[in-house]
Symmetry: C2
Subunit: 214 residues, 2 copies
């Protein structure tokens, strides 16, 4: 299927661009509470809460999932969302840990308010999906009643994640490009590159939402 290939490449590019941005302009990664640990935050958020999240959400859009038994697809859907959620939590841990070490307060920016809301809804969605759709107790009526809300919240969480990525990239560039010739407003190469990464994530997200809601 050509569409799957195109979308996967686009998602992969979002991840690779973010990694390249952090490696090339911000000295790469570590897990030690320094700014190198912060650098894991953008990569883990884009990988977990945008790309893997999208892949997990689109599982039922594969024609293969429409035939044969449903349970394996459900388990796949839930397991992929669980992995996406684990990467998301690691990404949050990276930035919280960096803030602790650098004595920066938590949860002050609109970026962080929106981001934490998205992650909170993600957790609720996972628990509710697990309890209602995977555990065997729920009746068919309850499931079909909740399904449209499940889909709508799934799409909303992705939208919030995209808005978080955009505001995050934007603020990081204002932080780091503020002196001398490499002012953000002079549009140095890092700014062009990271702005493009942001636009790429937006295009990817809109395509996923289109396939999801069409």
């Amino acid at each position: 299927y050509l569409a799957v290939l195109a979308l996967s490449s686009l998602g992969l590019m979002c991840i690779l661009f973010t990694i390249y941005w952090m490696r090339y302009w911000h000295s790469g990664f570590a897990w030690d509470g320094t700014v190198l640990m912060f650098n894991c935050h953008p990569v883990l958020m884009v990988t977990g809460m945008v790309v893997l999240y999208s892949a997990a959400s689109l599982v039922y859009r594969l024609p293969q999932s429409w035939v044969g038994p449903k349970l394996p697809w459900k388990i796949g859907h839930a397991a992929m969302h669980l992995m996406a959620f684990i990467l998301t939590v690691l990404g949050l841990f990276a930035v919280f840990n960096f803030h602790n070490h650098s004595k920066i307060p938590h949860l002050y920016s609109l970026h962080s308010w929106l981001g934490i809301t998205a992650v909170f809804l993600f957790a609720c969605q996972w628990l509710l999906g697990f309890v209602v759709f995977l555990l065997p107790w729920a009746s068919l009526q309850l499931r079909s009643l909740l399904k449209p809300f499940h889909v709508f919240f799934g799409a909303s969480i992705l939208s919030l994640a995209i808005a978080s990525v955009v505001s995050g990239i934007n603020e990081k560039l204002f932080f780091s490009l503020k002196n001398g010739t490499s002012l953000y407003s002079n549009l140095p190469s890092e700014a062009v590159f990271a702005n493009s990464t942001g636009m790429l994530v937006v295009v990817f997200g809109l395509l996923v939402l289109y396939i999801l809601l069409a």
Copy 2:
């Protein structure tokens, strides 16, 4: 209709919060190229490209529009979108003019790249909608072929506008709250107020998208 009332109040609150933010913490408005002219930018963008835009898009969701002749509703839809577009262009003019006067370069931030993309798509959408749906030449087939794209782009443009508002509020707070006790990270009252305004716009936008796409 209770839902209309609730949604209108929420939209009105988004506008009033933005005005209050600019009046109370940024000395209000003017049309003179100073930062007081910049202050018109957030208000006009939220009013035009979020609230009026949403009202215009939801016109066909009113049960009243499903009976009787369609033309008056079409004209209303197109006229409201035209007004929304005019406010949007005035809002852009406010910030471009301010940048000219203060010798700040144009279109460097991810906020501005995303924003200008949203406005460009808005213009295309208006022209295409006008040519295909309002002028009498297009066949029924063409119209029903284009309609799902019209709706999808309509929803995408609103999503981009929401992401622009979030990144705009976020960066404005990093600009203006950077010295002494009123650091953004100390979460002074302006930060709480403007973050809340941003969250309000997000909630409003998600509700509109839900009604639009449900």
